[in-house]
Amino acid sequence: MTLAAETHGFLSPTGVEIVFLLTGLVTLGAAVITVTTRQLVHAALWLVVALGGLAVEYLLLTAEFVAWVQVLIYVGSVVVLLLFGLMLTRAPIGRSPDADSGNRWVALGVAGAAAVLLVTLVVDAFRTTWIDLDEPKGTTDLLGASVFRHWVLPFEALSVLLLAALVGAIVLSRKDGGSAEEVAGNPAGPVDAADDGGEG
């Protein structure tokens, strides 16, 4: 009698599964458009759709905190950084015909082979594993207690890494150290100043 409830067949999906599947299709479609579109700015905007869809998937998996962190950091800052990068490298606004390199078909073959292999393996391995979504498992309460109780040391190491990344990005993106002012102020000898100031 309870056999039908225990086996959880794929042919009678629950509501959460249907929503997960539809959101997954949207996410996957947005990801495919992101890597195939020829308009560079549109790629960044479709990336927003893909990352937002993933945030919805996290919500469906009852991982609320990760979902909101995903929205804040990925959609909020990473995509904005990417858009700034596109603008600062003067990416063409319209369709650029050379968005893909010459090894496109090789890439397609590699990605297709990897997809077939991974999907076959994953479906075969986790065909019968069932996620119990009855009680939430990723609230801010639970995750905060876990991060600040068991994972404090990686958390602090991560803050050091973020500081290092901040300093590194500033050093890398400075315009030739202090030589820019020197060039502007002293036009007589610009070559030496431009050459030796790179590392700061």
Partner: protein, 141 residues
Amino acid sequence: MHLAYPAVLAALLFCVGLYGVLARRNAILVLMSVELMLNAVNLNLVAFDVAFRDVLRSGQSFALFIIALAAAEIGIGLAIVLMVYRNRGTSAVDRLRDLADTDAGGTGGAADAPDPQDAADAAADAAGESAAASKKAEATA
């Protein structure tokens, strides 16, 4: 929910990102594809954490750490891409071939003759380099 749904979605997203990394020319689009791959890994981590009811919440904590790492990575990556663009005038990854063995056929000459594709690439590189050099000279003068 079956674990197969998020696992398959994560695998497919990873492969889409893999295609993007291999096929795109613009370095910023390559960075976007790397973000897609990292997100696929995050989805796997969260799904397995929820499925196996980890008491330490290690999967979700690690997903948070990966999100922070990705933010750091994108910052450094964009700084590097901007620097390359400033020095070379391009952000296409297949134009940055200064370390490629373009003159290997001239010394050995036994196995592989220098094919015309490489020669054309070298010529294009030289043209791009001289253009960049002239641009730099223009900027400094």
